[in-house]
């Protein structure tokens, strides 16, 4: 029996071997984005029925909820990478965290922005300071703080460490966002979809939302990997292997 077939995962912890792997994966994730986005948008605009209470306006849910989910999920992944980098001193971890932050910030912003557009016609207010909205705004600020802190420190390794501590401290906010509508009375309604109970949405609406969520997921992976590749080139610019790359030589 040979060991040749075993993939040595740790190999990919080095930027040098991760760079080409990410390059190979990116087109696949863009493809998957299209695969989920096209039916997702079709359901969003055509297949999903109007809502009994909210009419057509509820359709903003197909952007709002996937963006809000991603903003929370990306934060957890970013903090996990940051923590891993802090614990194991792996170089790639910091780059992953740095690569994820802007996408997470965009998702957080989109969830706040679409939420405001939804709130005005339905609730009668663009913004209220209830627990859900406030904690989601804090999440956005945490992303901005992480990006700013990393950018403010010139030495990449030190920037990673400082950012990692901020990212890990901020992780406590994610469960607060998620459970805020349960723990306190808020203007924001409770969860329609959760692991503990049957969804309270019509099936077509639910499918649309899940497809859109998957599309957002694939998009996030594709752009984050693209960003990580750029970060690798920047940080490893002094190394021989980067100088030898075709795209760098050209």
């Amino acid at each position: 029996m040979s060991n040749n077939k075993i993939i040595h995962w740790f190999k990919y912890a080095s930027p040098q071997s991760f760079y080409p792997l990410a390059g190979k994966l990116i087109p696949w994730f863009w493809g998957l984005t299209a695969v989920f986005l096209i039916p997702g948008l079709w359901i969003t605009f055509f297949a999903a029925p109007t809502d009994a209470q909210q009419g057509e306006g509820y359709r903003i849910i197909f952007i709002h909820v996937p963006a809000a989910w991603m903003s929370m999920f990306i934060y957890i992944v970013m903090a996990a990478w940051a923590g891993l980098g802090l614990a194991l001193n792996t170089r790639l971890s910091g780059m992953m965290a740095q690569g994820l932050a802007p996408t997470g910030a965009i998702m957080a912003f989109v969830s706040l922005w679409t939420g405001a557009f939804w709130g005005k016609p339905m609730w009668g207010a663009w913004w209220v300071w209830d627990a859900r909205l406030t904690s989601a705004l804090i999440l956005f600020f945490l992303y901005i703080g992480f990006i700013a802190l990393q950018a403010a420190i010139d030495d990449a390794r030190r920037a990673d460490k400082a950012g990692a501590i901020l990212a890990l401290v901020g992780v406590v906010n994610v469960p607060i966002i998620y459970f805020s509508v349960k723990w306190w009375n808020t203007l924001h309604q409770g969860a329609s979809v959760s692991l503990t109970k049957a969804p309270t949405m019509a099936a077509t609406m639910l499918w649309g939302m899940l497809l859109m969520a998957l599309a957002f997921w694939m998009y996030s992976i594709a752009v984050a990997l693209t960003r990580v590749r750029a970060i690798i080139l920047e940080r490893e610019a002094h190394t021989e292997w980067v100088k030898e790359l075709d795209e760098v030589k050209a």
Partner: protein, 146 residues
């Protein structure tokens, strides 16, 4: 202990400490984080006296009355209710039997003079036909009970 293990222990310990601290702070702030008080809390005198606050619940069925531009309605949590007066534009989703949050203060006569009224919708999404079926079923159940 390798330095790596030490760091992992420090991170885990740090996260646990932050988690506990956050839980304690949120617990202490509990009543301040609530976006509105319920009519039962108002009846129990838990609402701030003479100050602006928000009261939330359902708009009581059959309580909505319009007088020129002023609307009168009651906000109920099925146990207690608060009579509300409001002059202004109501959100489209404002309806009897649906959720609403009013901001204002209690008047000497016990009514709640609102300066802002927001509609609170629930987490149920369904097409109008399905909603109709649900309403019919609930009506049927009510008749059976009577």
């Amino acid at each position: 202990m390798k330095p790596r293990h030490k760091r992992i222990a420090l991170i885990t310990g740090g996260l646990a400490t932050i988690g506990v601290a956050a839980a304690l702070v949120l617990n202490a702030l509990n009543s301040n984080i609530a976006f509105f008080v319920t009519p039962t809390e108002v009846a129990a005198g838990k609402a701030p006296q003479g100050q602006i606050f928000r009261v939330g619940g359902m708009v009581k069925e059959g309580s909505l009355r319009r007088e020129n531009l002023t609307v009168h309605f009651a906000i109920t949590d099925t146990a207690k209710e608060v009579p509300v007066t409001y002059t202004g534009i109501l959100p489209d989703l404002f309806m009897e039997g649906k959720g609403a949050v009013a901001q204002g203060r209690i008047q000497p006569d016990g009514t709640f003079a609102a300066t802002e009224v927001l509609a609170k919708h629930d987490e149920n999404y369904m097409p109008p036909e399905a909603q109709h079926a649900v309403d019919q079923a609930q009506k049927a159940q009510k008749t059976i009970k009577q």
